[in-house]
């Protein structure tokens, strides 16, 4: 525990200073939120062309360089280069002690990450995909999320767990889950869903600075997304939502894999003269109620796009909170666009029909404003 506060304390402080300066941070105050989007857009034209995968890799490299307590552990993160090639080249650069290939033992290596974090390391554990995270869920819930409270504040767990999530590539029922909503149910965790290059690049260091366990869900469809990214853009805040597109007629709440779809839907709606505001939740736990409610108070109509199965998805929590906190501001029932309640089928047309799509978001928006 002491190691955390000791030797590398300076590193941590530097990082905090940087966080405060970073242009891509998304402050909570309303007026500024729009500026954050502008900043994001600005970054996107002046920087270097990178993919989401590369942005994530660069964040990992930076962490490994900045903090010697950081190491990466997971299945095929080393020799193979990561099942999504995120960690490609890191083994060669940092060696097998810090880039650790594990056996197929999700519970053991996630739990070992918790243990190493307890001992003051800063492990980044990669679970290939959320589909296999169930095998480690006991460790995450009953140890990572619980130890601090259960020990009366003695043992914190500065662990980062990354995993891919989501459907859309015809890999069928067992490989297409979107279960981040479950993790967002667990007190003691922070749940991040980077959906932009800046967040892919910037969330990791902030997560590593966090004294408590942070889970990062990377939607599989995002890895090949590319765009311009300021090479200087580093840490971003976590815990706030961002308005990715301002609008006055309705609020579309999205995150991770649904953000791009929501933005496409907003484009289509604007052609019809409907100005949709698009919120990227960014952090699923804690949810940034303030940003959501402020938007709803302006637009009075809400669509939530969530790739989870509808019943019991995160969208339900967002809807419930809006009804609790902005009930009298609502002019129409909240619409949810979620995944159909079906194991995701292999067939392309069935998978497409099962998932939220720009067209279904547009249709929901029309119902909401209609």
């Amino acid at each position: 525990m002491t190691a955390r506060a000791g030797a590398t304390g300076a590193t941590a402080k530097t990082a905090r200073a940087r966080t405060a300066k970073a242009g891509t941070a998304t402050p909570k105050a309303d007026g500024v939120a729009a500026k954050a989007v502008a900043a994001d857009t600005a970054t996107a034209v002046s920087g270097k062309l990178v993919t989401y995968r590369e942005a994530m890799r660069e964040a990992l490299r930076e962490a490994l360089i900045r903090d010697e307590r950081v190491f990466i552990m997971g299945e095929d993160v080393g020799r193979y280069g990561g099942c999504y090639a995120v960690t490609l080249g890191l083994l060669e650069e940092f060696g097998p002690e810090r880039i650790r290939d594990t056996p197929l033992s999700e519970s053991a290596f996630v739990g070992a990450g918790i243990g190493a974090a307890l001992a003051g390391m800063r492990p980044i554990v990669e679970i290939m995909t959320v589909n296999f995270s169930l095998l480690a869920l006991d460790q995450i819930l009953n140890n990572a999320a619980t130890l601090l409270h259960m020990s009366g504040g003695q043992f914190n767990v500065p662990l980062v767990i990354r995993m891919a999530t989501g459907a859309g590539r015809q890999v069928a029922a067992q490989h297409s889950h979107s279960l981040e909503g479950w993790f967002a149910h667990i007190p003691g965790l922070r749940i991040l869903t980077p959906a932009t290059l800046a967040d892919a690049r910037g969330m990791l260091w902030t997560a590593l600075e966090d004294p408590d366990p942070v889970l990062i869900f990377e939607h599989g469809a995002l890895y090949n997304m590319s765009g311009m990214l300021d090479p200087a853009a580093t840490p971003v805040d976590i815990g706030t939502a961002a308005i990715r597109r301002p609008g006055r007629d309705l609020t579309i709440v999205a995150y991770g894999g649904t953000l791009a779809k929501a933005l496409t839907a907003a484009d289509q709606l604007s052609a019809d003269g409907v100005a949709a505001e698009v919120i990227d939740l960014r952090t699923l736990r804690p949810l940034d109620d303030a940003t959501i409610m402020e938007s709803v108070r302006r637009t009075h109509r809400v669509v939530i796009a969530d790739e989870g199965w509808r019943s019991g998805s995160l969208s339900a929590e967002v809807a419930a909170r809006i009804t609790e906190q902005a009930f009298y501001d609502l002019d129409a029932p909240i619409e949810r666009v979620c995944t159909a309640e079906v194991p995701i089928p292999y067939a392309w047309h069935l998978e497409e029909a099962a998932l939220p799509q720009p067209a279904t978001i547009v249709a929901a928006a029309r119902r909401a404003v209609g």
């Binding site: 309640e341 079906v342 089928p345």
Partner: protein
């Protein structure tokens, strides 16, 4: 506690008795090989999508093991399952249609390459969670055991699965309850990019299984005759009430893990060494040497298979897809009226 004491393994039946049988083994292996080779082309043409895991190089395992199974026996498989399905007798048409995501596919297009199912062949499907099929096999065997069905459940899984907790729990449960499972561990030395010796402290997987007190052998998985022999011996012992048996089938995949895998982690020379032991070439050479097959025979066999594959593709091409309205059909069974 669950019944009969462990019996000595039954005397193995004579395996692969005649040339006709060997020709059949060869044909089955070639059939799997050619099927998958066409699948690669179809994947490039985007006719097949999603994950595609090839069995090329490992055909002797599926073909050899399936010889030992009766129609009433059950099979539990993995995501690398085309070989198991074909060797088991699942019709190639329904398999190809499944890869094409058509309603005529063996899973009506809902499963794809990783999730082939067929009740009529008691093929309990491909499982894409590593180790996830093992408990199903234990449960199928438990049911058989409780009913005294005299059936065997063959359960395929890879070397990688051996590291999962599920493996341990299932070995213990099967051994403790003396369940009629034939565990078939396809040790191809890699779990994706992770070599066995970088993943497991005990690399002798038959020894690992033996530590649960079950009979376990390591078998040359590139030799279909050896596989068949061992599988028959194991299956008969299991059927005779001898409790679970374990075969470690030492094999190798000639291709990458999946179509997404650039295969950076293996030496070309290692791959070449194993390719020199190609189970199809080996059997064919042996048969030729003994005059059991001619080049013309091989040619005829190849043509027959090519025709079967073409027919399967043609049928898949023109088959219908499940109507989108039926998306949520089969989430639940139809309710009793």
């Amino acid at each position: 506690m669950t019944g009969q004491p462990r019996q000595p393994a039954a005397t193995p039946q004579p395996a692969s008795g005649d040339a006709a049988h060997r020709r059949e083994l060869l044909r089955e292996m070639v059939r799997i090989r050619r099927f998958e080779e066409r699948c690669v082309e179809l994947y490039s043409a985007a006719k097949i999508r999603g994950f595609l895991h090839l069995y090329i190089g490992e055909e002797a395992v599926a073909v050899g093991v399936c010889q030992a199974l009766a129609p009433a026996d059950s099979i539990v498989s993995t995501y690398r399952e085309h070989g198991h399905a074909l060797a088991r007798g699942v019709e190639m048409d329904s398999l190809m249609a499944e890869m094409y995501a058509k309603v005529t596919g063996c899973s009506r297009g809902r499963g794809g390459s990783m999730h082939l199912f067929d009740t009529s062949h008691r093929f309990y499907g491909g499982n894409a969670i590593v180790g996830g099929g093992l408990p199903l096999a234990v449960g199928l065997a438990l049911a058989d055991r409780m009913r005294g069905a005299g059936r065997v459940t063959a359960c395929f899984f890879g070397d990688g699965a051996v590291a999962e907790g599920e493996f341990h729990e299932c070995m213990n449960l099967a051994a403790l309850w003396e369940l009629p499972v034939l565990f078939c561990c396809e040790n191809n030395l890699y779990a994706m990019g992770t070599a066995l010796n970088r993943a497991q402290a005990e690399t002798d997987l038959a020894a690992r299984a033996g530590s649960y007190g079950m009979v376990a052998w390591a078998v040359d998985g590139m030799d279909v005759i050896a596989v068949e022999h061992a599988a028959r011996r194991g299956a008969e012992a299991v059927r005779g009430g001898g409790g679970p048996h374990f075969l470690e089938l030492r094999t190798y995949r000639f291709r990458a893990h999946s179509m997404y895998d650039p295969d950076r982690y293996r030496d070309k020379s290692e791959i070449e060494r194993w390719k020199a032991r190609d189970p199809i070439d080996a059997l064919a050479a042996q048969m030729k040497q003994h005059g059991e097959i001619t080049d013309d025979d091989v040619e005829a066999l190849e043509q027959g298979i090519a025709a079967e594959i073409s027919r399967a593709i043609e049928a898949a091409e023109v088959a219908a897809i499940e109507p989108v309205e039926d998306l949520t059909r089969f989430v639940y069974s139809p309710r009793p009226a």
